[in-house]
């Protein structure tokens, strides 16, 4: 019986301890800078190198580019950029390979939607997603 009483004493002692839970969702959850939420995309930085498309393990990124509108400049500019968030596993490899940091992670993780179509994030959506952006993007 001694063991049992000791256990009860332990729970009684714990009763007076400080609360460890958050009042989520009324209180925002503190997240570290490196936390991986949905991506933010900067169309002006993208050089259409296709590296994010090639590295994505689930093939959830699709993009198309077009010739630079300014004929004096070489290279391409982005035309469409889509992430199928149904299958994105937030592995962070796209931001790791991006040479111009055109795609970066944010801390936004509350991504539930009522329809599956809403999970297809296009260029406009990803461009507007500009809150809680990761500050330090490259190691």
């Amino acid at each position: 019986m001694i063991g049992l009483m000791k256990g009860l004493a332990y729970t009684l002692k714990e009763l007076t301890r400080e609360k460890v839970t958050y009042d989520y969702p009324h209180e925002p959850l503190p997240l570290p800078d490196r936390f991986r939420g949905i991506q933010k995309f900067y169309p002006e930085k993208c050089i259409v190198c296709n590296q994010c498309v090639n590295i994505c393990p689930t093939e959830c990124i699709q993009l198309t580019g077009k010739k630079h509108p300014d004929p004096t400049k070489k290279g391409k500019v982005i035309e469409t950029y889509n992430i199928n968030f149904e299958i994105c596993i937030l592995c962070d490899l796209c931001t790791e390979v991006c040479p111009t940091e055109a795609i970066v992670m944010t801390n936004n993780f509350e991504l539930a939607e009522y329809s599956r179509d809403a999970l297809y994030k296009d260029l406009a959506w990803l461009d507007e997603n500009d809150t809680n952006i990761r500050r330090e993007n490259k190691p």
Partner: protein
Amino acid sequence: MMLRTEEMILNVGPQHPSTHGVFRLILKIDGEIIQEATPVIGYLHRGTEKIAEGLQYTQIIPYTDRMDYLSAMTNNYVLCHAVETMMGIEVPERAEYLRVLAMELGRIASHLVWWGTYLLDLGATSPFLYAFREREMIINLLNELSGARLTFNYMRIGGVKWDAPDGWIDKVKQFVPYMREKLHGYHELVTGNEIFRQRVTGVGRYTKEEAISYSLSGVNLRSTGVKWDLRKDEPYSIYDRFDFDVPVRDGGDCLARYECRMAEIEQSLRIIEQACEQFPPEGPIMGKVPRIIKAPPGETFVRIEAPRGEIGCYIASDGKKEPYRLKFRRPSFYNLQILPKLLKGQNLANVIAILGSIDIVLGEVDG
């Protein structure tokens, strides 16, 4: 008049609170005594090994996170270790220390989940809350380091993705004495409890020979008296630099497995403590790795000690960016095979106590 009796089939799962994942157990019972137990697996099968054949080595790392999702760091490591062995890549010291810290923190987190849920299965609610409180601290530490709570994708071939953030090592240092105190409390709360001890002593017992013939590994093997821990017997990474013991028990029953796991938490804390002290103040976190990772033609097999046993990775390469064949030796899958033998002749009430003590993760069983 004689009562007519007949055997009954009882279905447990696949959605059952005690199966921790999606696992089905078909029990043939005579009264309350189990005559035959048939595990049905595959509900979480995603074909990781087949998918890997079409992916570059770096792309496979996030998939390993999803096998044993309670200790993803060891899974990350085994794949990177296999590719590094094939290519002869040297990993910088700082990266090795970060890997060991991450893996040992993961091991503690994994054992805490086991401890909490095992007691929950046996009918005690409060240990679960305490275990998850401490686990949350570990997860926060790993979240700060890698950017994710469970699916870390932290290790890379030749090193790690991120260096430790400012003050992270100090936080880990502070966590060690805190966890030791809590561990002491756990023993006070559960280990000495007479009801718990009666519930698990002598239940689900198997011998050393049986454990070896079923190729059990990890705690399931060490609880029968076999001192076999790859961190000691086949040191990989930098484990030969740390002073720690391999907890062994002779009982081979649920209590022995419980005691082994609890002792392992203590040993992991010792490793973390030493790793924090020895942590190099500066240095690179990535070794010299070619831009395109191509393993040379040939094959390799490496194995390491995961919280659930020996996890192995076999790679056959034909010199391309993708592996020709990749296989994981997933410890939960092998450990689960002894279950039908253990359940035969047992009382129905012991099913959960025995299943829980083997500590399987279905993501790993199904692959």
